[in-house]
Structure formats: structure tokens, C-alpha cells
């Protein structure tokens, strides 16, 4: 008898637990479902509001219209360019510096390391005003390259820290034996160290790429020509111009999030690990 009631208790607990989990799931997905459904409605149907059930469907029309009206092909290329520049730059800078901090001995090493880490503590918002004039004096204002480069400079602290701790985990003996075999330092780096670095790169690539793809503040501050807008800024401008065209806005939002959804589904553990590392170490 007692056995049985214990069993029922456990069953009830489990049902409650799954109920909570499913409720949280619904809570998470409602906004996404709203965007998706709204993007499939006709203009006339969407006027009734995003939280009515669709009656007239227009599966691809809104996407074509939003794509052309919002000029998303151009903005996607802008974002892509900025992202590639930031990601490649950060990888190069952080890999070299992380390797240096982890595997070389020279005077002033710790001091330089801690100075570079200051960039992790002081937020971009604290230096964004002078940065405007720094970019201006270098001719990098209103330039996607300018934003890509500044994001390397402001984001490298974290990346260097991550790469350094990765390289510390690589045994010195591999490097030593390559040196004794007569490899120059450059040969050691290219032939021995870099081929082992790929696993550390995935998380770093994902976190840097996402930061770049979603960046709104820097483009708002330093980009003035509409044809140079990256996707979030373009979407923001599009929203301001079409506040009540729900179906077009929704299609625009879908267009802007589909690339990141695809990448997320492909590399979700890297996403989670990368952002987690950012929190735990930052």
C-alpha cells in the first residue's frame, strides 16, 4: 500500500515537472511562432493583429516584398563582410597573443597580459564617444571595415584569455621537441601549434560571429549611409518606417534570423559553450 502511494507521488511529481518544462517551452516559443505565423499572412488579414488566428495565407509573397523593400541582400552582405573581418581578425590576433602568453617567457609578460584584459572589464559604452573621433581621424567613420576593426580591438581581451588557457593545456614537450628537431619558431607555430588549434576556434568563432551579427550600437554610432547598414540596423530602420505592416515586419525579422538559426542548429553546442565561456570567464 505504502509502496503504491510512493509510486503515485513520484508519478505526480514527474507530471508536474514536465508540465513546468513544457510551459517554459511554450513561453520561449510564443514570440517566434508569432513572427512565423504573421509572416505568412496577407496584408489584409494581418491588420486584424498578430494575435488573431490567420485566415488568409500568403506564404512567400511577404518575403519577396520585404526582401526587395528592405534591400536585405545588400544588408546581409554588409553584415557578412563585417562579421568575416571581425572573426578572422580576432582569431589571428588572439591566437598569436594567446600562444605568446602561454608558451614564451619574456620580461613584462604578466603586466601586458593584465593590461589587455582591462578591455574585458570596461564596457564598450565607456569608450564609444572618443572612439567616434578616433575612427574619424583614421578615415574609418561611416565604414564597415572601421567597425570590424574596432570590434577586434574591443573584443580581443576575452578572446586572448580563451586562447591562452587553451594553449596552456597543450604540452610543452611537443613544442620543445619540434625546436630540438631544428624547427624555427615560425615553423613550430605553423606546423605544430596551429594544426592543434582548431577545436578552440569553433567556440571563439561562434561567439565573435554572433556578437558581430547582432551588433546594433556601434553601427548606429558610426555608420550614416543607409547602403552601409548591417542587418540589425537596417531592420530597425525598416521597423520605424513600417510600424503597422505586421506581415512585412515579420518577414523581415524572419529573414534576419534565419541565417543565425541555421548556424545555431548546426553548431549549437559551440554556441552554448562559447557564450557560457564568455559569461564564466568574463
Amino acid at each position: 500500500m505504502k509502496m503504491r502511494s510512493q509510486k503515485t507521488n513520484r508519478l505526480i511529481t514527474r507530471i508536474l515537472i514536465y508540465l513546468v518544462l513544457i510551459l517554459a517551452l511554450v513561453y520561449t516559443l510564443i514570440p517566434f511562432a508569432t513572427i512565423l505565423l504573421t509572416s505568412f499572412r496577407t496584408a489584409k488579414d494581418a491588420v486584424r493583429g498578430p494575435f488573431t488566428w490567420p485566415k488568409d495565407w500568403n506564404i512567400v509573397g511577404n518575403y519577396i516584398e520585404a526582401w526587395e523593400m528592405g534591400q536585405f541582400s545588400r544588408y546581409m552582405l554588409n553584415s557578412l563582410y563585417m562579421m568575416v573581418l571581425t572573426v578572422v581578425g580576432t582569431l589571428v590576433v588572439a591566437t598569436l597573443a594567446g600562444y605568446s602568453f602561454a608558451k614564451f617567457r619574456y620580461p613584462g609578460k604578466n603586466a601586458i597580459y593584465y593590461i589587455l584584459l582591462i578591455g574585458m572589464m570596461i564596457p564598450f559604452q565607456s569608450i564609444m564617444l572618443p572612439l567616434y573621433f578616433t575612427l574619424k581621424s583614421m578615415g574609418l567613420l561611416n565604414s564597415l571595415s572601421g567597425i570590424g576593426l574596432l570590434m577586434i580591438g574591443t573584443g580581443e581581451g576575452f578572446a586572448i584569455m580563451m586562447m591562452r588557457s587553451f594553449f596552456i593545456g597543450i604540452p610543452d614537450s611537443i613544442i620543445e621537441s619540434a625546436r630540438l628537431d631544428g624547427c624555427s619558431e615560425i615553423q613550430v607555430l605553423v606546423r605544430v601549434v596551429l594544426p592543434n588549434t582548431f577545436p578552440a576556434w569553433t567556440s571563439l568563432v561562434v561567439i565573435t560571429a554572433m556578437g558581430s551579427w547582432n551588433n546594433l550600437l556601434a553601427p548606429m554610432m558610426y555608420i550614416f549611409s543607409q547602403d552601409k547598414y548591417p542587418v540589425p540596423y537596417a531592420l530597425y530602420a525598416f521597423q520605424s518606417a513600417h510600424t503597422t505592416d505586421y506581415q512585412l515586419l515579420a518577414a523581415g525579422m524572419m529573414i534576419s534570423i534565419v541565417p543565425i538559426i541555421i548556424v545555431y542548429v548546426m553548431f549549437q553546442s559551440s554556441f552554448q559553450n562559447g557564450l557560457m565561456a564568455g559569461a564564466v570567464k568574463g
Binding site: I17, V20, L21, A24, L25, T28, I30, P31, I35, R48, G49, P50, F51, V93, A94, L96, Y99, S100, F104, R105, Y106, K109, I112, I115, L116, I122, Q125, I127, M128, L129, P130, Y132, F133, T134, M138, L149, L150, I152, G153, E156, G157, E185, M210, N214, L216, L217, M221, V231, P232, L235, Q239, M253, I257, Y264, Q268, F271, M276, A279, V280, G282
Partner: protein
Amino acid sequence: MRKKSLYRNQIIMGYVLLIPAVLFFAVFFGYSLVQAIHYSMLDWDGVTKAAFVGLGNYRELFTDPVFWKAFVNNIFYTIGILAFGVLPGLALAYILSRPYIKGRTLFRSVYFFPRIISAVVYGAVWKWMYDPRNGLLRLIINLFGGDGGGFAITGNVKTAMLGITITGGWTYFGFCMVIFIAAFMGTNMELEEAAKLDGANNWQTFHRVTLPQIRPVINMVLVYTVIDCFKVYDLVLVMTSGGPNDATQIMTYYIYKQAFTFNRFGYGSAAAIVLGIFMVAFTVIYNATLGKEEL
């Protein structure tokens, strides 16, 4: 002889590898930081000649009610994120880390999802949800017999910040869950079993046995959360642009507005420096006191 030159090579190589990092840091970060401190002591519109005012900007800043409102709003947002983001994240992580849960990966991936989307997207959808004319909140309030059409959560001075915070929490709980679940999976389940055999109930076991084991992770999440909450910008811009009547004014938006709306680069820089000092001070003090055990 050979060994000595090897060592010298290493010193040179060590420095050479640092060149790009130091260069990028110096040009885009270090120089700007020094300049920010410099600007914060100027009365300057960004174009005409600047006048040196010493600490005048700081003095004005600390007597500006809007600046304090922004600061208090950031604190409100932080507390709200702890309630709507960190706590639910902790609870869900605990549930999901129980060994008998099926579909753990699915739940985890979906909860995490909002974190990867731009605020321009989720901020806009949440604005729809909050819309008193045809939003979801209206439907829910009406369902319980209230007047949903008369309640604009982000349009009301009293509730606007709450509305933003709920949205912020929605993007944050899954992220916290992913961090906490890794911590819970690393805890010693045998200790829990032992506590239960000794007659501890579920809450006691959780509170006394499981939670202390993930204390360092909780500390790290708290520090990160405070810093993240003081950096918030996109969400406020998209949902309310600081309004109504400065009710959702926050530090970052305040800095932006001073410089680019009112052309007060010196004054805005002073606010930016205060924000930076606050964050560094918070991190250092927290780690030296409450977060000390982890070090």
C-alpha cells in the same frame, strides 16, 4: 651557446606575436579610454573649441535627476533579471539535471534560443505582445476579467521598466539554465542520496547539499549579470527609446543621448567614465568579498 640563442629567439618571438594584439588594443581601446577621461573634463560639443571644466561635468552629473533615474533603472533592471532570468534559469537547470528527465537536449536548445537573436527582433515582437490595442497581454488580462485594452505596460511611467525587464528575462533564463545545468551535472549525486537517507527532504537537500556545490558558478553568473544589465541598450532603444518621460532611461542610452542628441560630448563622456568605474569597482569588490571562496 645554442641554448642561449634559442632563449633570445624566444624572447623576440614572444614579443613579435603580441604586436597585433597590442596594436589593436592601443589604437581602439587604450587611446579611446585615455581620451574618454580627457573629454570628461571638457565642455565640448564635438565640433567647436573645447573648454576645460575640470570636474564640473561630474558635479553636474551627480545633481542631474535623469542620470540618477537612469542609474536606478539599471538597478531595477538588474534585480528584475535576477527574478525573471537567473532564478527561473536555476530552477529549470535543477529540474533538467535530474537523471530521469527525457528530452533534455531539446529543452535546453530551445530555452537557449532567445539569447542568440538580436533585440531588434525580439524587442519588436514583445512590443506587439504588449500592445494594448491587439496584443497578447491584452488578451490574457481580458481573459481574467481585467481591462486589457486600458493597460499599456510600456506606455505607462510606472510599469514601463517592468515590461522591459520581463522581456529581458525572457532572453536570459535559458542562457542561465545552460550555465547552471553544466554545474548541476558536475555535482556529487551520492551526497544527495546520503542526505535523503538521513531524512532530509527535497528542499533541504537542494538548499544544503546541492546548492553549496555550485556556489562558485552562481557567483560568476551574478557578476556577469550585473555587468550585462548595466550594458543593456538595444532592448530599451527598440521598445521605448527611454520613454515615456524618461521612465526607462538607462545609463547607456543616457550617454548616447547626451552626445548625439544634445551634442554634449564632454558631459556624456563623464557619464561613460562613471559607468566604467562602477563596473570595475563592482567586479573587484564582489570578487574580494562575497565571491572570495572561488579564488
